[in-house]
Symmetry: C2
């Protein structure tokens, strides 16, 4: 079992959620075990984050219900049998667990289906097929008839996106583990080591100090490939290594850091120029964080700084404001500046990106680059967001745009051609929004050119 917050915290969260509903029930299915290659051989268990938020318990085969009409919560589940206990050891009773999360009542799972009959049932979008099947069964519907509750989604986002002091302490812990993990990889980074070895070190630290990595580790010399989970190369002198990796602590709060390392221990002049540009964008966007500003402004600030830097290097040209508005920079940074982070590394992404990162007054852009921004809305104290600008030279994308003569007024394709084997650079931290501004979570992780070089060579 995972550690839990004090029981009243779960009670208060459920009460706050219930305040917006006058009838019906909210249904939270725990995640089950997930099979790898045969039924009994399962992946590391990961509870659903909404379940964790309202019901805390990191266990499969239970269902949490908030009855909005009666203002009560019920845990549906069955105690372990004596046979289970022989193989699994002493197990806590559901009634004791229910007390720890201030749930009013425990009932057998078999009663859930009839309990729900005739009630308005709010549920979040299921993302595991087992839970889709179970939801359909419980509600007597077909798989394609499951309609998640937008009211519930909005109610959950309003709560989960503002992190409490207890949660921030957990996130700091996750970030401390993440800093340790990244620092250790920096120390082992040198020509001849394999990506897979470094990846193993990272995973080992994440599992040895917390609940493992918070998402599939990106650790590659092909940093220009944004979704790169290959670790098959050997580190080579002169190349850059991008490591984008986070951990979950034992309460499933997440960290997410990216650092880019020169394999040789020293950035080349060309690498350093790009690195400094990304670094400035990262630092400026963090410094700009404060309550009341829209995060899309941070994105704009960051890509403006990147554009200025790329112009100085001679890779871009033309009117900067226009270039940014049209998305010419997206050749170099096709992704957004960041996302919310909490119990999920992309926090609440199961509920739908736009419910989390946009509000009713905003329309998500359809422009390449801009459209990939996950978190655009107004920052508020208690938000935790990532700031992760980057510059990449993606040969396929360069070829397509060049052929289409896209943004020729803003991009010096001849010069860009000479960077096709450069790779990519990204720098990422997690920032808590406070009343005063933004605070990077966790101990400082080497970030400037000098700090990175010193750590690799230490």
């Amino acid at each position: 079992m995972n550690p839990l917050f004090a029981s009243h915290i779960y009670q208060e969260r459920r009460n706050k959620l219930g305040a917006a509903f006058s009838h019906g029930v909210a249904l939270f299915l725990a995640n089950g075990e997930s099979s790898m290659n045969y039924p009994a051989n399962t992946y590391r268990y990961r509870q659903d984050s909404n379940f964790l938020y309202f019901f805390g318990l990191s266990l499969p085969n239970i269902v949490g219900v908030i009855d909005f009409e009666k203002n009560r919560s019920i845990l549906f589940g069955d105690d372990f049998t004596i046979d289970d206990i022989i193989w699994m050891g002493d197990q806590p009773k559901l009634l004791d667990l229910a007390t720890q999360i201030a749930v009013d009542e425990v009932r057998p799972l078999a009663e859930l289906s009839s309990f729900l009959k005739g009630k308005q049932v709010h549920f979040t979008p299921p993302y595991r097929a087992e839970n889709k099947i179970e939801l359909a069964r419980l509600l007597g519907k077909n798989l394609d008839e499951l309609t998640p509750s937008v009211d519930l989604i909005k109610g959950i986002v309003a709560l989960r996106e503002i992190k409490s002091f207890e949660e921030i302490a957990q996130m700091v812990e996750a970030n401390e583990i993440g800093v340790h993990m990244h620092t250790l990889v920096m120390r082992y980074c040198r020509p001849g080591v394999t990506e897979r070895e470094l990846y193993g070190i990272a995973e080992g630290i994440a599992l040895g100090m917390g609940n493992g990595t918070s998402f599939p580790v990106i650790l590659s010399q092909n940093g220009q490939t944004l979704h790169n989970h290959d670790h098959s190369l050997t580190l080579e002198d002169g190349r850059l290594l991008v490591m984008d990796a986070g951990v979950e602590n034992v309460m499933n709060y997440c960290s997410d850091h990216t650092r880019t390392l020169p394999v040789s221990g020293t950035f080349s002049t060309k690498q350093r120029e790009i690195y400094e540009t990304v670094y400035q964008a990262n630092m400026a966007a963090i410094a700009n964080c404060k309550p009341g500003i829209q995060n899309i402004e941070n994105h704009k600030l960051a890509v403006t700084i990147l554009t200025e830097g790329l112009q100085k290097i001679g890779l871009m040209k033309g009117n900067i404001e226009e270039s940014v508005a049209l998305g010419a920079h997206a050749l170099f940074m096709p992704h957004g500046l960041g996302h919310q982070i909490g119990l999920d590394v992309h926090d609440m992404e199961d509920l739908g990106e736009n419910y989390v990162g946009y509000d009713d007054t905003m329309q998500r852009s359809s422009i390449f680059g801009w459209r990939s921004l996950r978190m655009a809305k107004t920052l508020r104290p208690g938000h935790v967001i990532t700031i992760e600008p980057g510059i990449y030279f993606i040969p396929h994308l360069i070829d397509i745009w060049k052929k289409e003569k896209k943004f020729e007024a803003f991009i010096n394709y001849d010069k860009v051609e000479t960077y096709k084997n450069f790779g990519g650079i990204r720098i990422e931290d997690s920032v808590l929004i406070t009343e005063e501004g933004g605070r990077v979570l966790g101990k400082h992780l080497p970030k400037s050119v000098e700090e990175i070089e010193a750590t690799i060579n230490s």
Copy 2:
């Protein structure tokens, strides 16, 4: 992408499977990505082992079909789009991949459903809910109407259970990594270290040198709890640490070793007595491995030696043959001697344990202890099995049996009571059956009392 065997190997496997079928098709769905806490956040990818065996490719979103009537194989799938390639980098074409596994034809996934119409479709038992839903959709059936093909199951077991030279080389590699992993944990084993730290080291090695651990690691001072995946304790002087852990190499072949370590670095007299008994059972069962004998005889040999040892210590008594036949020893070893191992750590368990470990002439026992034996049938050259006897003192089980006065003629409950805090001991290796006998796979992993103590203290 994973490495592959030579293309003709896959061709030959499909041909051999087809030899037993005159009509219909065999349908192999690749495993998909498996979501953790939101759709895009997925677990480490694990291909289905039957798919790996016949179609080799470790990729989601493809389907392999063997058309028995036309004696052809087809890969259904779609190439990556240019958008995918921008985010994921260069991707091999399906047609090129099909060539590498000697598949005759590639067709779009959208054509699969109509291709199957009217055909007799053989498939294996689906164990992932996504594939259940997809199978039901493809075959126009309800989820509860999916009937796996017993002929296909038997045909696959007949092939996969006899490991080829290429496969044995892969399994040796997996075992080498496993030996390295266990040895490293032995070296870090000492009072004050946490189970979680050692677990992290093990996982780090498995992911850094292969495709990760082959099943959820058991690493616990509560070794008497057989399915114990808790790692929350700190190592204490005087206790035993059971580590049951294996790895997959990059071609997904598995290892599985168990060692039991004295945290202090030296077994106490009491621990050594039990350890030597388990060690003798392990060694004798391995020495007894040869083609032609039923593995249930190895199980019997091992539990007989355990019973003799437990009698010498004063924990058991009475007629040994009778005691073994009735299952009195199962108080101390409720599980079976072992299982087949290959592309799955419990090889082919998705196909059904009895199809893998029993033949048509055998009936699985219903006696507690005996009924848990997974691999009972006659050993043949090319089988790889685990040999994993153990002795455990499971307080719950002791209490139940004692209260029921179960096997009082064979068990000295008063003495057993004094072992209630002992924990458990298991010793496990993987054995290849050759024409001559049995060969433990991989380098020797310290196993005797002297070897274990020397390694911990080195």
